[in-house]
């Protein structure tokens, strides 16, 4: 079977190379049959990659240890779901998933636009072929998932921390996001190559960008929840380079989603949009380089592998390609209009973009700093949490404020008097919230108080927008259905507010304490008292479990256990936390027991109380809901676009 997988990958490589070369030739020489042939090659590449993927999936499910990859990432004790999740649990499988999604998304995007945007897609095919060529080459020549060996009795198993339901969903979500960003990039490049830099590439890729952005955002929240419940350090985001690798393209894509509206409305920021779409794509490739190369220390990094250099080379080449294209087409990308007033919706979008990109580049510098210091000084210096927290506050809080002000400002220009009148209610709500929060003791953290009050402001503006819009149109359903993008966006804004409240609550107002406990001894924190009852150890299939059992009293009464598991295969430890969620207060009681010893009955216990942390996970659901509203197909819009573009196919 490995031969079949290898052969299918070689066929995929041949097809994407053909899509690149023949597609370019067809576009340059204007040859119709060659262009269709190149497009077919892209479609077939998806088919052959799907066959290769099916071979690997079958080998994983059947525990075929003659595959080196299967033996390295699974064992016989793994359930079918976790055995399948090993597809993206290792490097070679992840790359195969990347190629599968790329060819699948690419084929679908080209197929959907092949008639209306023929002059564009003829250039999109070779761009997608070029990206596919890189991944197919790496899979065939550098990191094949179909290397074979003499079958072993059992495999090495999947890293214990990856044996978690979140890990079944989190990596594919991120890949769908990363790879999805290749589609707007390919259409943007196609638009510049063809010299057709009108808005059609934006219209064609609007939903692709939203889908990629949604998967990337939701995937990160799933990853954060996995870190929270599985890694067991008490947090959900550690500013780890690999976490940042997913955050950076998401920030760039967020900026793009906002700035693209200015191009649609005003014909401005064409160069900026090209830069943003290229930046988002390059950062998604750079993220893979970070994850796979081992150049940075990360809990997520795989061991050093030869593909890092290939990825770096691809990032450099594709960045130069994008930059060259933008420079070449600068005359076509000139704006036709200017910003009329610094007090306008488009100006607010611009400020939002500057803050988002500043945050993105700040995070990028934090990720690059250890590499730069290693190159310049020969010693690795890392940037810690205070750096990131400082810039998150510096850029994030103004962004939160803008999220509230922006929707209340009219397009083109608005007067200070009209703005003051519109802002009156939200500001009143904000001030009232601030007073109540201070009375409740939220003044103990200034950033927390600012985040809460700004959040109240944004929520008030969303409510105001809905109320006024409903009064103007007659009903909420009519209002939302007439502009799904805008009101879907407001729901996403509400998700960001929930996220901000959750992050502020759990970080600025959380409590924690740490103590060495013996049976009968207690520790108290934030209204909870935990008493060590016993330290137990038991053997379960494939692991030895050690648990400190604690009786809890106070705001909640019950029992929590925490400790660690030592797995037999693979021989790795895994920390197991004790967690009690109070959904009414959106609060977690989080217990970490280290060095629990069943002989001496001693355990080092760390107890954390995290207020409002669960709003972060609720935000994920609201985020998907808002994205779905914005994505929901609008028949009237489709008809309008078809009519608008129809003569182009003549």
């Amino acid at each position: 079977m490995a031969d079949l997988g290898r052969a299918a990958l070689v066929v995929s490589l041949g097809l994407v190379v053909y899509a690149l070369v023949a597609g370019s030739a067809a576009a340059v020489t204007n040859r119709r049959r060659l262009a269709v042939s190149a497009r077919n090659a892209l479609f077939c590449a998806f088919g052959s990659t799907a066959i290769a993927s099916a071979v690997l999936a079958l080998a994983l499910v059947r525990h075929d240890f003659s595959f080196v990859y299967v033996a390295a990432h699974t064992n016989r004790t793994l359930s079918t779901a976790y055995a399948l999740s090993a597809f993206w649990g290792g490097q070679e499988g992840s790359l195969l998933l990347w190629l599968l999604v790329l060819t699948g998304f690419g084929a679908l995007a080209v197929a959907l636009n092949r008639t209306l945007l023929r002059d564009l897609t003829v250039w999109v095919v070779p761009v997608l072929g070029g990206i596919g060529t890189f991944f197919a080459f790496v899979l065939v020549a550098v990191a094949s998932p179909f290397a074979t060996q003499t079958a072993t009795v059992d495999g090495a198993g999947l890293t214990p921390s990856l044996q978690n339901p979140y890990m079944v969903a989190h990596p594919p979500m991120l890949y769908l996001g990363y790879v999805g960003l290749a589609i707007p990039f390919a259409f943007a490049a196609g638009a510049m190559l063809s010299g057709r830099t009108d808005e059609r590439w934006i219209v064609a890729t609007r939903r692709w960008t939203l889908v990629a952005w949604m998967f990337l955002g939701f995937g990160q929240l799933l990853g954060a929840h996995w870190a929270y419940v599985e890694v067991g350090w008490g947090g959900y985001y550690a500013w780890d380079p690999v976490e940042n690798a997913a955050l950076m393209p998401w920030l760039a894509a967020t900026a793009f989603l906002h700035s693209v509206m200015i191009q649609e409305r005003k014909g401005m920021l064409k160069v900026w949009n090209m830069v943003l779409v290229a930046l988002a794509f390059e950062l998604s490739i750079f993220g893979t380089f970070l994850t796979r190369s081992g150049v940075v220390n990360s809990i997520h990094s795989f061991s050093k592998s030869p593909i890092g250099a290939w990825f770096l080379g691809f990032v450099v080449i594709s960045s130069l390609f994008s930059l060259g294209l933008i420079m070449w087409r600068l005359p076509l990308l000139k704006a036709r209009t200017k910003l009329e007033s610094p007090l306008s919706r488009e100006a607010a979008f611009l400020y939002n973009n500057l803050l988002l990109v500043a945050l993105c580049l700040t995070v990028l510098w934090g990720v690059l700093f250890p590499i730069v210091t290693q190159l310049v000084k020969g010693e690795t210096r890392t940037i810690g949490r205070p750096y990131y927290d400082f810039f998150l506050r510096s850029f994030g809080l103004p962004l939160l404020l803008l999220m509230g002000i922006g929707p209340l400002i009219a397009w083109r220009r608005t007067s200070v008097r009209a703005l003051a009148r519109t802002l009156a209610w939200p500001v009143a709500v904000t001030l009232a919230s601030g007073v109540v929060l201070v009375a409740l003791g939220a003044g103990s953290s200034r950033p927390g108080l600012i985040a809460y009050t700004f959040s109240a402001f944004v929520l008030a503006t969303i409510v105001l927008e809905l109320v006024r819009g409903t009064r103007a149109t007659g009903s909420v359903a009519r209002l939302v259905s007439r502009n799904r993008r805008r009101y879907g966006g407001y729901v996403v804004h509400a998700a960001v507010v929930l996220l901000a409240i959750g992050v502020a609550g759990s970080s600025a107002y959380g409590s924690s304490t740490e103590r060495r406990l013996t049976p009968g001894e207690s520790v108290s924190v934030a209204g909870y008292t935990l008493t060590l009852r016993d330290v137990e150890r038991k053997r379960v299939p494939n692991a030895v479990e050690t648990r400190a059992v604690l009786d809890v009293d106070g705001r909640w009464a019950g029992t929590l256990s925490s400790g660690d598991n030592h797995y037999v295969n693979p021989p790795e430890p895994s920390r197991e936390i004790g967690l009690r969620t109070n959904w009414l207060r959106a609060e977690d009681l989080y217990v970490i027991a280290d060095s629990a010893n069943p002989k001496t009955k001693v355990a080092f216990v760390r107890v954390l109380v995290k207020p409002l942390v669960n709003l972060i996970w609720v935000a994920g659901i609201v985020f998907v809901l808002g994205s779905a509203i914005a994505l929901w197909p609008d028949a009237r819009e489709q008809r309008r676009l078809a009519t608008r573009l129809a003569p182009a196919r003549a």
Binding site: R33, D198, A410, R482, A650
Partner: protein, 145 residues
Amino acid sequence: MIALVLAVLIAIAAVVLVAWPFLREPVTADDRLAAVGPEEAERLALVEERDRVLAALKELEFDHRTGKIGDDDYGSQIGPLRRDAASALRRLDRYGSGMTAFEIPDTPAEPVPPPDEGTPPMPAPVPEPYPPPDEADIPSPAPQE
């Protein structure tokens, strides 16, 4: 062996599909891609401009009705926007998709009070049939061929 046969079959299927345009049409009188000529490019640019101006008109109406802009701002912006819209529609009319079946007044209408100042909100008299890109269908353009 079976795997090898399957692999060969995949390769053959791929080659056939890729070569299909040439197998279906071994000889063709016209193998050129339908290019977008300067006239079509200009039409698309005008359509974009028309949609942009009409969207701006719609936004202006909505912003006025929801109280985001005052009567003064509304009055100063509506006139130029209507003139731009009329101009875009007239220029597009050359291509048969200008939709000039209605007249766009050059002068702003009597301003209406914003919704939070007593009177219930009333839409300003912008011609209803214009097709705001987010809300209405644009009539089919005349056939190009």
